[in-house]
């Protein structure tokens, strides 16, 4: 009797563990695996440490262009919302052009930000300026510029990734955390907002850059 009970208990425990594991895997698959980094007790990294970790070579980013694919994961949406387009970065200009599903662009030129869609060009609202600059610095891997708004931490999961945590209230209004990955150049970054919805952006560079 005792043996039977013990077998049942062991079996139940094993079943419970398997069920939990399966459920976690399922959750992770459904959520496309990226989870925010826990930053408790971590020491922030310097710009040099970040650049070393990502093997970034500063000076090569004066002019870049390429394509992007953006996946937005909202908790209430069953599948991510996909959009894609291209970008251009030069000294005085940053263009982020979305081609699909709807054409639009944000153009940051000489400190002026404009937003264009099918209805034409208009001056962008103030918060868009913060986001446009952020995108520009993220893609260019300009951690010196980012250091005024973010603290940098290493990422537990991947060697080529760093986690950015806002340190100003202006930035934390929009962003909870950013995980940025790349090797020699920025390949991908994930932005978590205050509601822990996330935006994954994958970058591919044109050969000319």
């Amino acid at each position: 009797m005792n043996i039977l009970l013990a077998k049942i208990a062991v079996f139940s425990l094993a079943f419970f563990c398997c069920a939990c594991a399966l459920f976690s895997i399922n959750l992770a698959i459904a959520d496309n695996t990226v989870i925010p980094t826990t930053l408790a007790d971590k020491v922030s990294l310097s710009v040099e440490q970040v650049e070393k970790r990502l093997q970034l070579q500063q000076g090569d980013v004066d002019s870049q262009q390429g394509d992007f694919i953006q996946r937005k994961y909202f908790k209430v949406l069953k599948k991510p919302f996909l959009s894609s387009g291209n970008f251009e970065i030069s000294n005085n200009e940053f263009i982020w052009k979305t081609g699909k599903p709807v054409e639009s662009a944000i153009i940051f030129n000489n400190g002026e930000l404009h937003f264009t869609d099918k209805s034409g060009s208009k001056k962008a609202p103030a918060q868009a300026s913060t986001i446009a600059k952020l995108l520009q610095h993220l893609i260019a891997g300009n951690f010196t510029a980012l250091t005024s708004s973010f603290l940098f931490y290493d990422d537990n999961n991947t060697a080529n990734c760093v986690t950015l945590k806002p340190k100003t209230s202006a930035m934390s209004t929009f962003i909870e955390q950013i995980i940025l990955c790349g090797e020699k150049q920025v390949d991908e970054f994930v932005l978590f907002d205050k509601n822990m919805n996330r935006t994954e952006i994958s970058i591919s560079y044109n050969k000319a850059s």
Binding site: L77, S148, K194
Partner: protein
């Protein structure tokens, strides 16, 4: 007995003076804005205070050029521990704002959202675009509760319309930038106390010191400062300097004159005592009757020295000439006091409250002077008669002879002068130009800094409108009517010419955050119509979300008032409360006023946009309004001047007959006309303060006429009048060195008026009663 009475009043005055000084009742201020004329419409005036009083405590420092960002940070770090540095930014709590508006989904529509509701395709395109944005905190915070994205778009639009600045890493950056350079702005709030006279000077100096430190460190960065604090500090230092310098100089000149004329220390003592008594009386009256005394009032008040000393001169000359009875001179002094007091009371007809302080100071001061010369002066002066001054007597005799020669040719001279004045007015009509700037003695640097900051903070061609209504709903509907007209205007202009994005007219107001109930019901109808026509169907299918609009009731001001959005709305809505009805419900108020701001709109466009809205819309242009009030006051003062002249003429007619009335009136009119014409030639277009000076010329001129009429051209009277004129010339003449245009204009005209009446008064005397 007289001496005891005089000493007793002096003792009482000293005790009162000590009391007002110790009890702290004597408070001074130099707030330049408090000098401005007040609007007669109480509700508009109260609304104006509600909207703009908070700005009085703001200090603006801008940083531009190379190193602007580092210089901004350096200023911040050097100032952050200073007691006057208090940066309060309105926290952008998007999350809470979105949550608040989610309770009203179905009643709120943004312009872009409304346009997207025309078909399922256009709506899907709109929604897809919103979701394609890299980060959109509004969508993120609301998509779960409002999948239509209507709330997200409404809140985003409200924030977008109401931010004048871009915030970059916590620094304010002006959106309009010159030559691609960024301009960083630091706005901080000082305490109310820092606007007091002495404190303002200290705080402004400390801020300038920090600025100087930053400028030394970053020489390529241009720092500019503005704010009421700096106006107050500059005007206060200027006024303090002018008050002590002008007062000191006048006093010194008069003491020298007294000593030269009377050659007696007792005369000097009598004069000093009279002035001291006058100043103490005036000061006590000011401290007791006013909450705070404006320092500009005291600059004008310097004139008390010149007028009070006149009384002493009359008594001293009588005593000097060993006259036994002072009855006639006392009577003349009293009549003179009445006319001067009436003249100063007329000043209070102008809409500037500080003129009441000037009038109080002078009238109370003259009472003090009168009490002193009636009681103490005769006793101290009679006890020690002064030495005879033969040189003076000789000059006096010459002057009297000259006056007599003039009097013999009176008719010819008066005709000649009148003709000259008449022709000069025909050839050179006087122009007037009243401006708010007359009241401001601030430096040109500060004024240009202020214009620069206004431009970068508010944009070009900013117009403000006061929207009036008996209910909030009425106010909101009027705001929306103006928005509709502006949109129509944009569409019309857009069709005819291609717009450059920066110059699109923009409207900002409380209706950005709180649409009228009428509009909210229309929005609800439009949304339900779109829902019934399957506008949201394809979006729902694509996302698996269900779009519903089930808020029970529209958004009200009552709900806003206690919400996170209140800081965006309450400062721009003034409720003129009807206390008998209470203040719980929206409609219990008599009048509501909101502030609507339109930018990139010219004055002509504004006129066409507000056409037909009548009294519900009042364009608010502080400078123009004040200049208009000053012009109106000037014109009404001219009427009062005429009335005062008529009253004086009637009194003279009863007392001295028709001929004297004609002569005196002519002398008065001529002296005022000459003063105005000469002022115009020296100063250019005249202003309200030149006209105010007319009132005082009238009051002083009446004094001279009365003295001549009563006492004729006897030596003591001529001496007293000459000394009075000289003393008045000193005190008013010295005002022409003031940097405040109002003080300059006033001083110049009074000075010229005194010269004119000094010459004309003896010509107008008939049937003189030689004493």
């Amino acid at each position: 007995m007289k001496r005891q009475l005089g000493l007793f009043q002096g003792l009482v005055a000293m005790i009162l003076l000590v009391f007002v000084l110790i009890s702290g009742k004597a408070k001074f201020q130099a707030d330049i804005l408090s000098l401005l004329p007040q609007n007669v419409q109480t509700v508009v005036q109260d609304a104006e205070s509600h909207f703009f009083d908070g700005n009085k405590r703001h200090v603006y420092i801008s940083f531009s050029g190379k190193d602007a960002k580092i210089a901004h940070d350096q200023f911040f770090s050097l100032s952050q521990n200073k007691p006057w540095f208090n940066v309060k930014t309105l926290d952008l709590d998007l999350e809470k704002t979105v949550q608040f508006y989610l309770s009203y989904q179905g009643y709120l529509l943004a312009d872009n959202f409304s346009k997207a509701l025309t078909s399922p395709e256009s709506y899907s395109q709109f929604a897809s675009q919103k979701l394609s944005e890299v980060v959109n905190p509004f969508v993120s915070a609301s998509i779960a509760q409002d999948p239509s994205l209507a709330t997200a778009e409404f809140v985003e639009q409200a924030f977008a319309k109401n931010d004048g600045f871009a915030l970059e890493d916590g620094r304010l950056i002006a959106r309009s930038q010159e030559k691609g350079q960024q301009q960083f702005i630091l706005i901080f709030t000082i305490d109310n106390e820092a606007l007091n006279v002495n404190k303002a000077i200290t705080v402004a100096e400390e801020i300038m010191q920090v600025m100087h430190q930053v400028e030394t460190q970053y020489p390529d960065c241009v720092l500019k400062y503005s704010g009421v604090l700096f106006h107050t500090a500059e005007n206060a230092s200027q006024a303090k300097f002018e008050m002590s310098f002008f007062g000191g100089l006048s006093l010194l000149a008069m003491l020298v004159m007294v000593y030269f004329v009377f050659r007696s220390k007792t005369a000097l003592f009598a004069v000093t005592l009279t002035i001291a008594n006058a100043v103490i009386y005036g000061f006590i009256a000011l401290a007791l009757l006013f909450d705070s005394v404006h320092i500009i009032s005291l600059v004008f008040g310097v004139t008390l020295i010149g007028i009070s000393i006149d009384y002493c001169f009359h008594v001293l000359t009588e005593l000097h000439n060993k006259k036994t009875s002072l009855t006639t001179v006392n009577k003349s002094i009293f009549l003179g006091f009445i006319s001067t007091a009436l003249g100063y009371i007329l000043l209070t007809l102008a809409p500037m409250s500080f003129l009441s302080q000037v009038a109080t100071f002078i009238i109370a001061g003259l009472v003090g002077a009168m009490v002193c010369v009636f009681t103490v002066v005769p006793t101290i002066s009679s006890s020690k008669p002064g030495q005879n001054n033969s040189a003076l007597d000789k000059r006096l005799t010459n002057l009297i002879n000259l006056i007599k020669r003039f009097q013999e040719r009176r008719v010819g001279l008066l005709i000649a002068i009148s003709s000259l004045v008449f022709v000069s007015y025909l050839l050179l009509p006087i122009k007037f130009d009243d401006s708010i700037a007359d009241l401001n003695g601030s430096s040109s640097t500060l004024i240009s800094n202020e214009a620069f900051h206004q431009k970068i903070l508010s944009g070009q061609d900013v117009k403000r409108l006061f929207i009036l209504g008996s209910t909030i709903e009425q106010v909101l509907q009027t705001e929306e009517a103006i928005r509709t007209r502006v949109s129509a205007f944009i569409a019309e202009t857009d069709a005819s010419s291609k717009f450059v994005p920066q110059v699109i007219p923009k409207v900002t107001g409380i209706s950005d955050w709180l649409p009228s109930k009428q509009l909210q019901h229309a929005n609800n109808k439009q949304l339900k119509f779109a829902q019934a026509n399957d506008v949201f169907s394809s979006w729902q299918e694509a996302t698996g979300l269900e779009v519903t609009f089930n808020a029970p009731e529209p958004l009200t001001y009552q709900a806003i008032k206690n919400s996170v959005v209140a800081p965006y709305v309450s400062p721009f809505l003034y409720a003129g409360l009807n206390k008998s009805l209470g203040q719980n419900a929206e409609n219990d108020n008599e009048k509501f006023v909101s502030l609507l701001q339109l930018s990139n709109i010219t004055r002509a466009q504004l006129v066409s946009i507000t056409e037909g809205l009548g009294d519900q819309v009042i364009p608010f242009d502080k400078a123009k309004n004040i200049s208009q009030i000053m012009t109106d006051s000037r014109e009404s003062l001219l009427s009062w001047f005429m009335l005062a002249l008529i009253i004086f003429s009637v009194v003279i007619w009863f007392r001295f007959g028709l001929k004297a009335t004609g002569n005196h009136s002519l002398a008065l009119i001529l002296s005022v006309s000459i003063a105005l014409m000469l002022s115009y030639l020296v100063q250019g277009p005249l202003n309200l303060f030149n006209v105010l000076a007319m009132m005082l010329i009238l009051a002083l001129a009446i004094d001279y006429l009365i003295f001549y009429q009563y006492r004729g051209t006897n030596s003591s009277n001529v001496l007293a009048i000459s000394l009075s004129a000289l003393s008045s010339l000193f005190v008013f003449g010295v005002l022409v060195f003031s940097k405040t245009p109002a003080v300059y204009s006033f001083g110049l005209t009074v000075m010229l008026g005194i010269v004119s009446i000094f010459i004309l008064a003896p010509l107008s005397v008939v049937n003189k009663e030689e004493q």
